[in-house]
């Protein structure tokens, strides 16, 4: 067992535990905190893959912005602190069968496919510079996407202007 495998198992278990707690917690706020643990675990897995920029971006964007937005949405909902019992046995049965089917499909796919076993290539030293160049390269595909986001901002500003109440 190499150190890498041990770390992967540890971090993977933390991520899965966070995810499990998110979907089974009765208290919505606790579910949001479990989501944060899961997101942090994913960021650690990125760091394990030597994708340092992606790990920091995951923490900054998901935990620093999206998780906060989710927590705000949870706090502004009423009746969050109560315990929600299972609705009825029928929905429990149907959801269990659906989950088991999905698990079966995923396991069959995982074990029947011939995953290519090559050694991973070395991460280039200036990976961030290359990422930056790829984001603005006119010959690649990200630039039209970014121009579309400018269009979105224009639409947002226009709709905010139209929707404001005029005194």
């Amino acid at each position: 067992m190499t150190t890498l495998q041990v770390m992967f198992i540890l971090l993977g278990s933390i991520t899965l535990a966070g995810g499990l707690y998110t979907v089974t917690a009765r208290n919505l706020f606790h579910g949001a905190l479990g989501l944060i643990v899961a997101l942090a675990g994913v960021a650690a897995l990125y760091a394990l893959l030597e994708a340092s920029f992606l790990a920091a971006a995951q923490v900054a964007i998901y935990i620093g912005a999206i998780a906060i937005m989710i927590i705000f949405a949870v706090m502004l909902t009423r009746g969050v602190m109560g315990a929600y019992p299972v609705k009825d046995l029928w929905s429990l049965a149907v959801s269990s069968i659906g989950t088991v089917l999905l698990l079966a499909v995923l396991l069959v796919t995982l074990f029947r496919f011939n995953w290519p076993q090559t050694t991973p290539a070395a991460v280039p030293a200036d990976s961030i510079a290359q990422l930056g160049k790829a984001l603005v390269d006119p010959n690649l595909y990200v630039l039209p996407f970014e121009v579309a986001s400018v269009l979105l901002v224009a639409a947002l500003i226009g709709s905010a202007y139209i929707a404001r109440d005029k005194k």
């Binding site: 208290n27 706020f29 606790h30 905190l33 944060i36 340092s52 920029f53 920091a56 971006a57 923490v59 900054a60 935990i63 620093g64 912005a65 998780a67 906060i68 927590i71 705000f72 706090m75 030293a125 990976s127 961030i128 510079a129």
Partner: protein, 414 residues
């Protein structure tokens, strides 16, 4: 390297050699990593004590009083007295709080402030982890402290704590934007996000090359920590201390610790990004990079204490307007102007990192600052003129005919 030039690396080598006598190499590595992390953590906590002492003495002197002078000479043992007081205070947990979240919030708040120190360059080789995303790591873990505040506000089972937490988070999230944008200008000029590279690219300090970015990073840093003049949201007289109203004793001390450690971390970041980090002349022929870094960080912290002692608190709508209407557009314009100026200067034959290049950048920056302040002044003039009354009120003219008219009425009124 010898002992005086780099005592930390020398000590690290000595300890590693001693450990290598009875541990396998893996054990030595792991032990050295744990030791380095421990030293950084202890350094952060000791600096917390020094920061509170500087703050209390500094603010006291600005307010024309002496400050703590009972505990030890010049009050130097006052932080220890504060710590003992916090430990002996009763730890009250109110009814119906969310126990786990309530206890985890102060821990997360102080830990999120301390892990920033892993990426701060104290010297040429003295950095916890030289990541190629150094400054981005620091910005990312700033978000963890925000989660801690939300946890504190929510689990306290107190309306005012929740409202205070909402407002604090709104302020912190808003001020992250000019903070990040101005740091992007620094990263653009240095060509890398690694903190060591940023310090090495400063033969001319970035304070002179990017003064607008430096000011914006300092202001938004102060707002990010929640210090005066941006501390409307957790000051004692407003909304009764906001999100840490229900915390007493050591838990409150942990929040307090998180705030001051974060303040020192922001001072270190500004010193590394704008004041040239550990660069400085040799003292008596010895290179002491860590001492210069320390001096610069304390200097920036003194500027923060000065701002706290001098400026009145900003109201929440003024605070938000300052951010969204002034700092964010200024940061965006700053980014564009810095990029254009840098390319123009380099196309004109000036190499980056030399004084002529720095002078060109400074001229562009100052022009931008003058235009921005002129715009703000013009907007302020317009608002002031709009708030004045439109017409002068009618002035009563007293002449004989007027008095004769009204006098009989006045005389015969009884």
């Amino acid at each position: 390297m010898n002992v005086v030039n780099d005592p930390f690396t020398w000590a690290g080598n000595v300890i590693a050699q001693w450990l290598g006598g009875f541990l396998p190499p893996v054990g030595v590595d792991v032990t050295m990593m744990v030791l380095r992390a421990g030293v950084l953590g202890v350094f952060a906590l000791v600096m917390f004590m020094v920061m509170t002492w500087i703050e209390r003495k500094g603010v006291a002197r600005i307010q024309d009083r002496i400050g703590p002078n009972r505990a030890g000479p010049f009050g130097l043992l006052q932080p220890i007295a504060d710590g003992v007081k916090a430990l002996t205070k009763e730890d009250i947990t109110p009814d119906h709080v969310d126990r786990v979240v309530f206890n985890a919030a102060p821990i997360l708040s102080s830990v999120a402030a301390m892990i920033v120190f892993a990426a701060i360059p104290f010297g040429p080789g003295l950095i916890g982890a030289d990541m190629n995303i150094g400054i981005f790591y620091i910005l990312a873990v700033g978000g963890l402290g925000i989660i801690a505040i939300l946890m504190a506000g929510w689990s306290s089972n107190n309306k005012y704590a929740l409202l205070g937490a909402f407002r604090v988070v709104a302020q912190l999230v808003s001020y992250e934007i000019p903070h990040v944008l101005s740091i992007v200008a620094v990263v653009m000029l240095a060509g890398s996000m690694s903190m060591i590279t940023i310090v090495e690219k400063q033969p001319v300090w970035f304070l002179f090359v990017l003064p607008v970015s430096a000011l914006i990073v300092l202001f938004s840093g102060m707002a990010e920590i929640g210090r005066s003049p941006f501390d409307l949201l957790d000051a004692e007289s407003e909304i009764i201390a906001g999100h840490h109203i229900e915390y007493s004793g050591m838990k409150f001390a942990l929040f307090f610790l998180g705030e001051y450690v974060h303040a020192f971390a922001v001072s270190c970041i500004v010193a590394a990004l704008f004041l040239g980090g550990w660069r400085g002349p040799n003292i008596f022929g010895l290179t002491v990079p860590y001492l210069w870094f320390f001096i610069k960080a304390i200097l920036v912290f003194n500027v923060m204490v000065w701002a706290r002692g001098t400026l009145p608190r900003l109201r929440i709508d003024h605070l938000m307007a300052f951010n969204w209407k002034f700092l964010v557009p200024l940061s965006l314009v700053n980014l564009i102007v810095v990029a254009v100026a840098d390319r123009l200067a380099q196309a004109g034959g000036l190499a980056a990192g030399t004084w002529p290049w720095a002078l060109v950048m400074l001229v562009f920056n100052l022009a931008m600052l003058v235009v921005a302040l002129a715009l703000v002044g013009w907007a302020g003039q317009r608002a002031r003129r709009a708030a004045e009354p439109r017409e002068m009120p009618e002035v009563e003219t007293h002449d004989e005919a007027h008095d004769a008219e009204h006098a009989p009425i006045a005389a015969g009124a009884h």
